[in-house]
Subunit: 123 residues, 2 copies
């Protein structure tokens, strides 16, 4: 008889068996606004951050600069509620679709991608 | 007197002065369908791949597995025409908006992110 989870998480998620973590135990996570499609930010998750993201339904990351777990919005209030979590074909990148409570960027910008490198081409 | 470029590229792009390349000389590039907003793939660029992407208006990457420059679609025909190229706040990730000529994924899927890790929550 299979055991029944006594503390089901917010998500009934498939077993994650083939994620490719890098040598630091991290995986790249692209965060996208589920409503607008805007790409908001790219960050990194370790296994604990992914577990907490799935369990709580809010994004958690691993801060490479601070070397600590990071609950997005814990300080700013700009949490991100997860509506979809996807893995790419080779298992080394996640796509996290969210409903953001506020700007994703620490600068206050909605998205961290606010600087354009190319100039729009004329028609 | 300032010199005038004799071979202007497809793009009039701003000088890229503060990109943060990793220790392998690479930067993460998120590729998004400009029309639908769908996140198609994540790959890596070195300086040459970025230069070629800007100069030709089609995505070029550095293949980490094959250790070679990679013109997306050169073999498959599934090229990606660049319509916008953005850099994030801390300069270590690019967002490339494209019009794809075909599926982004080598599996034939439109997007490499076709496997869902979480199950949609009930209302």
């Amino acid at each position: 008889m299979e055991s029944t989870p006594t503390n089901p998480s917010t998500f009934d998620f498939q077993p994650v068996t083939d994620l490719k973590w890098d040598k630091h135990g991290l995986i790249t996570a692209v965060v996208q606004d589920a409503q607008t499609g805007q790409v908001l930010m790219v960050a990194w998750m370790n296994a604990e951050a992914l577990h907490l993201t799935l369990a709580t339904g809010e994004t958690h990351f691993w801060s490479r600069s601070r070397s600590e777990l990071w609950h997005k919005g814990a300080t700013s209030g700009n949490t991100q509620r997860v509506t979809g979590l996807w893995v790419d074909c080779d298992g080394d990148t996640l796509l996290v679709q969210v409903e953001p409570a506020g700007p994703a960027c620490h600068t206050g910008a909605v998205s961290c991608f606010f600087r354009r490198l190319d100039a729009p081409r004329s028609k």
